[in-house]
Amino acid sequence: MTAVLEISGLRKTYRGRKGVRRALDGFDMVVEPGQVHGFLGPNGSGKTTTLRTLLGLIRPNGGRMAILGRDVPEQLPEVAGRVGAIVESPQFFGNFTAKDTLTLLADAGGIDHNRVFQVLELVGLRERAKDRVKTYSLGMKQRLAVASALLKEPALLVLDEPANGLDPGGIREMRTLMRTLSEAGMTVLLSSHILGEIQLICDSVTIISAGKRVAHGSVADVLARHESSSVKVRLEPGVDMRPAVGLLRAKGAQITVETDHFVVGNAGNPAQITRLLAEQKIFVYELAPLAADLESVFLELTGTAPVEGRNRQVDQTAMAPAGGGWGE
């Protein structure tokens, strides 16, 4: 089956006074039909640049993109009617009502006005349709943005951070909506920072870091590929963790210290931990492999895990090695 979205070797370079910055550096992505596909990456990794480039707002410097089998941006006008998108929460005119806002978009796209009421119902704004947008909360504005993307009954829905500003109930409703749309045959590309949400609703993911794809595939596959790298280490009760942490760090371990234990993030061979500590008369009380969740995989792959005593800057990533780990 033809992929709904294909990107290969996408490049985008910005030239500024500080030199050349590669926002996208040969990025690849494939989204299969009917999937909810998560698009993850730290701030400044190139997510929004990718989406804007895909939607014709930014010109790429190289690479190939296709939506619904048509090359874009060349043939974008032909498929635009089948692509609904919100990019970085569009700000609507505060003095227009939600109904006015959507009706104007419907007019611009030649869409029947009845669809306006359908999407307002779908995102839960029916009762507030005639209120001015300036009276809306951030979450309601986000719902309106999603409604605007749904107006066209798209085959591909591209949503950039749709859960921004939503309350827990709203996030759950959004999750249900995504799932319902996907079950109805719509393909959803979802960019988000809420990794728990992505893990819950996405069939597949692409993780981007420093403008390159660092992981892709089904959520289960991505998790499986990174399952064994972290171990939780608990010492005997009452034993100071600091010498153990210092010793292991000196040997190259990536450690996250918790209240009563620490986690070695790149433990290729956990036996090394017990051996090294035992040599120093420090005895391990518990050593357990951690089941990887998307957040830990994300942090590992993008090199954005917080490091004690260091402030990570935006754009600063430590690209994880392709395979292996400390202790192997």
């Binding site: 974008l76 609507f92 611009a108």
Partner: protein
């Protein structure tokens, strides 16, 4: 419904458009009311009254002159003599011709003489309105992300911006035509009840229509320039900033600098004079440092005439350059 109709609806629905237009209408209404109140119909009674007042003033001045002459004669040989001319016969006596009855008539609205200036006033006001609304119409869309949102629906940049500009200019031209018609009608009534339009021949009406047409062109260019500048800067403030900068740099800074440097025809660099030339068909810039001697008229200054053709060409260049640049950049630049 087409993109054009949607853009027209968006323009009309915007509160900024409505309030700013309403403000302009209020200002125009205030001008019309002021003109109505301060002008009066001139009839036989007013003419007779003016003549009587002129005659009374003449009589009073005649008496005062005679009294003064009398006191001058009486003061001869006294200490008060220095307060009067040495020769009392030098004291002039007013004549009746010195007191023209015209001066005693109340202000009256002569349509042919006064209305052309009011057409310029209308065009100037609507140009400001067009510039600001045009800048806001596209500037607010750029700065809010609305333009990017619209381009997700219609990924045809030139078409989207061009349609938006067209919808705005057609709306602005419609408003100008409507207000010009109302303006002409109102002042026809003012002339009827507080003045005269008796001198309005077919030729005069034709000339007036051409002046109003030039006013319409001025408003459309001002609107397009505001729109174009805001689109170039992707913010309303860009257009307003350029307008303020233009006034400060060109009108005050450059004007002063050129005058200090004694540049010939320094006034020709001032933008408003080109607008006056456009509306009034010509404007003469004079250099009083030059003398062109004429046997009958003496020294006459060098003159540089800004014709409406020159001013029209300048407006056309401004329109083409700014709108062209806006369309070129929307096609080329990334929308981030």
């Amino acid at each position: 419904m087409s993109l054009y109709a949607a853009e027209t609806r968006r323009l009309v629905k915007r509160r900024f458009t409505r309030y700013f237009t309403l403000g302009a209408v209020v200002v125009l209404a205030a001008i019309a009311v002021a003109m109505f109140v301060t002008n009066h119909q001139i009839g036989p009674a007013q003419i007779a009254g003016a003549k009587a007042q002129a005659h009374a003033d003449y009589q009073r001045n005649l008496d005062q002159a005679a009294d003064f002459k009398k006191r001058c004669e009486a003061a001869k040989g006294t200490a008060d003599a220095q307060q009067y001319p040495s020769n009392c016969d030098e004291i002039g006596t007013p004549t009746e011709d010195d007191f023209d009855a015209q001066w005693y008539l109340p202000a009256t609205f002569d349509f042919q003489k006064k209305f052309p200036d009011l057409v310029t006033t209308l065009a100037a006001l609507l140009s400001v309105v067009g510039f600001v609304i045009g800048a806001s119409f596209v500037g607010a869309e750029w700065s809010s992300g609305g333009m990017a949102n619209l381009l997700l629906w219609r990924p045809q940049r030139l078409r989207v911006l061009g349609t938006k500009l067209l919808a705005f200019l057609v709306g602005l031209a419609g408003l100008t035509v409507l207000l010009s018609a109302a303006w002409t009608g109102i002042f026809t009534l003012v002339a009827k009840y507080r003045g005269t339009s008796a001198s309005m021949t077919t030729g005069a009406w034709k000339s007036l229509a051409l002046t109003e047409a030039r006013g319409l062109a001025l408003v459309v260019v001002a609107g397009a320039v505001g729109f174009g500048l805001a689109s170039l800067g992707r913010h309303t403030a860009m257009a307003l900033g350029v307008a303020i900068g233009l006034v400060v740099v060109f009108q005050f800074g450059l004007g002063t600098a050129l005058a200090l440097a004694k540049v010939k025809f320094a006034e020709a660099y001032l933008l408003p004079l080109w607008i006056v030339a456009w509306m009034k068909q010509k404007y003469d810039v004079q250099d009083y440092n030059a003398c062109n001697f004429s046997g009958t008229e003496g020294c006459r200054p060098d003159t540089f005439t800004i014709t409406w053709h020159m001013a029209g060409a300048a407006l056309a260049v401004a329109f083409v350059v700014i709108v062209g640049a806006a369309l070129w950049t929307v096609r080329r630049r990334d929308i981030t």
